[in-house]
Symmetry: C2
Subunit: 115 residues, 2 copies
C-alpha cells in the first residue's frame, strides 16, 4: 500500500477527522453504506464515475482506519458486504453537521470557489 | 495563482466544507484569528512551523473563499489585520463539532492511522 512520506499530524481532533474523511469518494462510500448499499458491485453502480479499483482501494483504507468492517460470506459466488463500525457510525452526525454548513452556504460558496 | 486542473466537486455540502478547510494551516489560521490573533507577524509566531510565505498564501486563499477579510490600516509602518467574515464565523461550530469527534476518538484513531 502507498505510504505517506510526511508523518500524519495528529495533534488536533479536526485533523483526525480530515485524515479519515479525505480521499476521493470516501464520504460517498460512507454515505452509501449508511443508506444500506453494502455490496461492492452495488456501490460501483451508485458511484459510477469512480473505477472499481479506486473504490476497492478507498474501501480498504476505510477498513484500515476502523471505519468499515468487511464481511465475506463463504458461499459460491463469494459475497462481500461492508458495514459501518461503531466508530464509522459515530462519523454520521459530524458528516451531517458539516454537510449542512455547506448546504446552508452553498450559493455564496459556489460563487467564491468557482471564481 | 495556482489553478486546479480538475473542476471542483460542488454537488455535496460536505465537499464545500472540505474545499474551504483543506490546505495546510488553514484551520490553525482560522482558529488563531477566532482567538484574537489577527496580525500576520503574530500568526507566524504562533504557527512557527510554517513559513511566512506559506501562511500568506493560505491567508489569501481564505480571503478569496470569503472566510477572512484583510484590513490594511494606512499608517507607517503599514498595519495589516485579518478578521473572520460572517461566513468565516459560521465555520466555528462546524470546526468545533468535528474536532470534538476527533478528540472523542483520538486514542483509537491514533492507533489506526499510525499503523
Amino acid at each position: 500500500m502507498y505510504k505517506k512520506k510526511i508523518p500524519v499530524n495528529l495533534d488536533c481532533g479536526l485533523h483526525l477527522f480530515m485524515e479519515v474523511i479525505q480521499g476521493k469518494w470516501k464520504i460517498a462510500l460512507i454515505w452509501c453504506i449508511h443508506s444500506g448499499i453494502k455490496r461492492p458491485g452495488e456501490l460501483q453502480r451508485k458511484i459510477s464515475k469512480a473505477s472499481r479499483r479506486l473504490l476497492d482501494n478507498q474501501l480498504s483504507e476505510l477498513v484500515n482506519h476502523g471505519i468499515l468492517t468487511k464481511i465475506t460470506y463463504e458461499e459460491r459466488p463469494l459475497k462481500v458486504e461492508y458495514e459501518l463500525t461503531s466508530l464509522g457510525k459515530s462519523l454520521i452526525p459530524a458528516i451531517e453537521y458539516t454537510a449542512q454548513w455547506g448546504e446552508d452556504h452553498r450559493e455564496e460558496l459556489e460563487k467564491l470557489i468557482q471564481s
